[in-house]
């Protein structure tokens, strides 16, 4: 029998020993309450903000000229806008997974990463939500998506996945925001009580809403938090399921597949964990949070990435198998076109990024190597973007009739919009790190040995 070997990362603690309630509070709130803004933060925020301005410029030009500035046309009407929408919203899902599903599964290691992962969710959903709106052609009529009594006397078509999407994404954004805010309240109270400046006390005080840590309040708080986690868990699965319905409910070859919902959800978590890793690694280094974001966390995240990566690989395999087994000419051609058509280099890069490279995570030595983890996360993020490119573009560009075939090439404005949303995402993340505690302080306190109540009278 083979004895399971405990790796160094598995033995690593969730919090380095020697911390107390006070030191945890000091360490995490110091990032926010420090009077002087670190130079690195200013540079990072400046660059991100400049990129966010690229987004502003791109969207302004789009509003002036229309979607013709992008590479979309018939037959490929869904270019970067939908690729990026699915990519961003998928990234957001890891935040909800960490905050809700891992809470229900009593995975205590989530405590160090849930706060900034939830913030990441919100910012990613903000970037995602932008795309379908600017893709509409007449974005100023976006409110037509909402069912409201109007003089035209019509209603949205509730049989359409695009209307489901509106409900799913807006519910997801709202519930994520609520979940994040409820989690923040006790920490906002800590900042209110510690802030050296009058403005800080006033702003954090208003946001904390008079939270005083009463036992009765905590009791209801814990109940509400658990209920929200229970509600968010099916919600996150439903959101990406509905996003996949945008494709699967159609009859386009390569989209009309029942494997889409689970395969999309797994891909979302995969991409999301890669993004959490890409944020966590620089943060812990820059702010010296290695005590709270230990190797154990990185190891666990790497394992989740490996597992979801295998789900995704299974999805690619089954897509190919189904195309062959269906004996349907169009499905078979679609697969052949992916393997050897004009976008074949993209397809094989995707397989390399999403299937081949992440196999390195089987090795404990790779999972314990911070730089390697960062690089693999970047590769997975690229791979998941390429996956959405393949799904959107290869199915559309050559469908049933060769007379309606065409090619899709992104333009400069496609790229500038995409890079611009990255700027927006990073700028929001920089602001979050500076003004709110990036790790949940009160939940970290509960992990300390001194928080344990043994009921021995003192």
């Amino acid at each position: 029998m083979v004895e399971p070997v405990e790796t160094a990362a598995e033995q690593a603690p969730l919090i380095e020993p020697g911390h107390t309630f006070r030191s945890v509070t000091d360490k995490i709130s110091a990032v926010v309450l420090a009077g002087k803004t670190p130079r690195g933060w200013l540079v990072g925020f400046g660059v991100s903000f400049a990129l966010a301005m690229v987004l502003l410029t791109s969207v302004s030009y789009l509003l002036m000229r229309g979607t013709g500035i992008w590479g979309v046309n018939i037959p490929v009407g869904w270019g970067f806008a939908i690729i990026n929408f699915v990519w961003w919203i998928g990234i957001g899902h890891a935040g909800t997974l960490i905050s809700a599903i891992l809470l229900l599964l009593r995975q205590e290691w989530r405590t160090s990463i849930n706060r900034f992962a939830e913030a990441m969710t919100l910012f990613a959903v903000a970037c995602a939500g932008l795309y379908p709106i600017i893709h509409m052609g007449r974005p100023w009529l976006a409110y037509w998506l909402v069912p409201y009594p109007n003089t035209m006397g019509v209603w949205p078509n509730f049989r359409s996945p695009l209307v489901w999407d509106v409900f799913a994404v807006s519910t997801y954004a709202t519930v994520s925001l609520l979940f994040w805010f409820i989690g923040l309240i006790p920490d906002l109270a800590t900042l209110r009580d510690r802030s050296p400046s009058r403005i800080g006390r006033a702003v954090y005080g208003i946001l904390a809403m008079g939270w005083r840590g009463s036992a009765r309040h905590w009791y209801r708080y814990e109940t509400a938090y658990l209920l929200l986690a229970g509600l968010s868990t099916p919600l996150v699965v439903s959101v990406h399921t509905i996003v996949s319905f945008d494709f699967a409910v159609s009859i386009i070859p390569g989209w009309h597949a029942t494997i889409f919902p689970p395969y999309f959800v797994a891909g979302a978590i995969y991409a999301g964990f890669a993004m959490v890793m890409m944020i966590a690694i620089p943060l812990r280094r820059f702010y010296g949070l290695e005590d709270f974001l230990t190797m154990r966390h990185l190891d666990n995240m790497a394992r989740v990435m490996l597992a979801t990566g295998l789900f995704v690989a299974y999805g690619y395999m089954m897509e190919t198998f189904t195309a062959w087994y269906s004996a349907n000419t169009y499905e078979q051609f679609m697969m052949h076109n992916r393997f050897a058509g004009p976008y074949a280099p993209v397809y094989w890069s995707l397989i390399l990024c999403n299937v081949v490279v992440p196999q390195l995570l089987w090795f404990a030595r790779v999972r314990a190597h911070v730089t390697a983890l960062f690089i693999i996360s970047v590769i997975v993020s690229i791979g998941m973007w390429l996956e959405r490119f393949i799904i959107v573009v290869t199915s559309l560009h050559r469908d049933f009739l060769p007379s309606s075939w065409g090619m899709y090439y992104p333009t400069m404005w496609d790229w500038s919009t995409y890079i611009g949303t990255m700027g927006l995402f990073l700028a929001l993340l920089f602001l979050f790190v500076r003004f709110l505690p990036m790790i949940s302080i009160f939940e970290m306190r509960t992990l300390l040995p001194e928080a344990e109540v043994t009921e021995e009278p003192a």
Binding site: T25, P147, A168, A189
Partner: protein
């Protein structure tokens, strides 16, 4: 109208959750009911020690979810069957499977909103002023100290007697809470 007591209550400060739970239990056993404990993180054992057993919140959230489900399905049904029946690809006006995604989302939305607003409402937040903040050291309740406050409205409350009772629990300090 009940006469307002001269002070809000008496507050004892502890440096350890164990001490606070033990103190809360003793106070509950001594018959004090109008009291509250303040901690920098949730302490499960406290609720039990203070005799807090249930909250209405889960029931409210269930009701919110049911209302959301009815609202979501009702919206899809009323618009597609009654107000503007439209033949889309030969599907029935009441396309049950197609209406489920929206119904599901509104169920979650209403339930989550009920959980959050219900939590704030039952906890009485936002609360711009509360007497416990008049104790200067209470700022530590959100950091690393644990407080037990017996309120003056408790029938057993007596300024001298209750103070002696709290001091017997060996806290770090006992202070009066001004209104």
């Amino acid at each position: 109208m009940i006469r307002r007591p001269p002070i809000y209550g008496l507050m004892a400060e502890f440096s350890d959750p164990n001490e606070l739970v033990a103190a809360a239990r003793r106070a509950h056993e001594a018959g004090y009911r109008r009291m509250d404990a303040y901690t920098p993180f949730p302490v499960e054992e406290l609720a039990e020690a203070m005799g807090i057993h249930r909250t209405r919140l889960p029931f409210l959230v269930l009701m919110g979810g049911i209302a959301g489900a009815l609202a979501g399905y009702g919206l899809a049904y009323w618009t597609s069957v009654i107000d503007y029946p439209l033949n889309v690809g030969g599907r029935p006006f009441n396309s049950v499977p197609s209406f489920i995604p929206v119904t599901f989302e509104t169920t979650v939305l209403f339930a989550a909103l009920t959980a959050v607003l219900g939590l704030l409402a039952i906890n009485g937040l936002p609360m711009p002023y509360h007497p416990v903040f008049n104790v200067p050291r209470f700022a530590l309740a959100s950091q690393d100290r644990f407080f037990l406050c017996i309120e003056a409205t408790d029938p057993l409350f007596d300024r001298e007697h209750t103070r002696r009772f709290l001091e017997r629990l060996v806290p770090r300090a006992v202070s009066e809470v001004e209104h």
